[in-house]
């Protein structure tokens, strides 16, 4: 009755895991770019920029990712736009990632001592020069561990896109289960693959944290 070997199950899951990896990468890279723009808007001097960025961040942090996926998938459909699952998944995850990264990075920029702004001002640097040469290089050191740490959340967040029909690791797990009737084996493998993706990330976040601290021991 059951024609699936364990290897068949694993092979199918691994094929689908490629999409999880790809979606994670796209979300993270896209989210970083949008997040960077949000960061500059958030800490900028104008009135509109910070207000917009703040509202955006609160909106995306204050609603479940699942709702954001639904809205991207079904919401645009209401306007007669046919949104494929991959597009809705990518878009929602990019926007969601951007909100969290912008907020993480804002904290990092604000952790740079006020005296650094004053010293660089007094040397005649303009805002962008201060950012580029003095503030961001210091904020970056602080930002690396939490940013890498957050990438784990992105990987796990991709699992939700299975609900709108994007075939990644979780969705593939459900499909394989329906064919094999071996949920424990299948979801066991699914969990294991997620773990293999996430664990190195959390571990490297810890290592980076220790490393960057050593380089910066007196600050």
């Amino acid at each position: 009755m059951n024609d699936f070997s364990t290897w068949d199950i694993l092979r199918n899951l691994l094929m689908a895991a490629r999409w999880t990896v790809l979606l994670s990468l796209v979300s993270f890279v896209g989210g970083s770019l949008v997040g960077l723009a949000l960061l500059f808007a958030r800490i900028g001097k104008g009135r509109l920029g910070p207000a917009f960025a703040k509202t955006y961040i609160e909106l995306f942090q204050g609603t479940p990712l699942l709702m954001q996926l639904f809205l991207a998938f079904f919401g645009l459909g209401l306007f007669g736009i046919d949104v494929p699952a991959w597009l809705a998944a990518g878009l929602a995850l990019i926007l969601w990632t951007a909100a969290f990264l912008a907020e993480i990075w804002r904290g990092c920029v604000e952790s740079v001592a006020k005296g650094q702004w004053e010293a660089s001002s007094s040397l005649g640097m303009g805002y962008l020069q201060q950012m580029r040469w003095v503030i961001l290089p210091q904020a970056l050191r602080v930002a690396v561990p939490p940013t890498v740490g957050f990438s784990v959340q992105v990987v796990k967040g991709t699992a939700l896109t299975s609900i709108i029909g994007f075939v990644e690791l979780s969705k593939a797990g459900t499909m394989v289960t329906n064919a094999t009737f071996e949920p424990f084996t299948v979801y066991g493998f699914v969990a294991l693959i997620y773990f293999c993706l996430c664990w190195p990330l959390s571990k490297s976040s810890q290592i980076l944290e220790r490393k960057l601290n050593v380089a910066h021991r007196n600050h």
Binding site: A113, L123, G124, M125, H216
Partner: protein, 242 residues
Amino acid sequence: MSLIEITEVKKRFGDNEVLKGINIDVEPGEVIAIIGKSGSGKSTLLRCINGLETIDEGSISVAGAQLLPDELHLKALRLKVGMIFQGFNLFPHLTAGRNVMLSQMVVRKTPKAEAEAMAKKMLERVGLGHKFDAYPDQLSGGQQQRVAIARALAMQPIALLCDEITSALDPELVNEVLAVVKELASEGMTLLMVTHEMRFARDVCSRVVFMHQGRVHEIGPPGEVFANPKTPELKQFLGVVH
């Protein structure tokens, strides 16, 4: 014409008027010590001259140029007036040499080789030529402050503002920094310094400004101000009992 003209400057933080109409004219080459209790507005005054605080009334001009709060005017002003801080504020991610090179290259667009030569020269000048490649956290407080001085000097300012530059230092490190300042003074650099080093003020400064409750309470040559304080507030501040 005076180098720095401070006229009727007022500054408020909310309801609290910190500067209540300050008038000081500084001639080229003068070394001025600003003394007074904490909260008397001395640091605020210095920060106003460098545009780190905006003023509410009055005017400040440096070498004939008015202090205006837009980025272009501020930048022009800051190229003329350097500032040194109590907390050093070196850039911790750069070596001492790079600290001195950065603003030359970024603000003045000086080529790297030239900026490096200037950085070496300035670090030599404060006695730290051998620390070019050291990071700030590998230097003592006194050395860090001397790098900060070199960094300000590399921009070739016509005046330096020193905001309690020895207050964060261990006592044994104070002198190495003061020696550098003294040398600058003898070379004719115009200096405005907020300080608690009364002996230094007496020995090196051409004039002493005593600030009290946001006003210039007494001003004059150190011999006069220290030996013969006129107001009870200054007497009390100097600990003179009559």
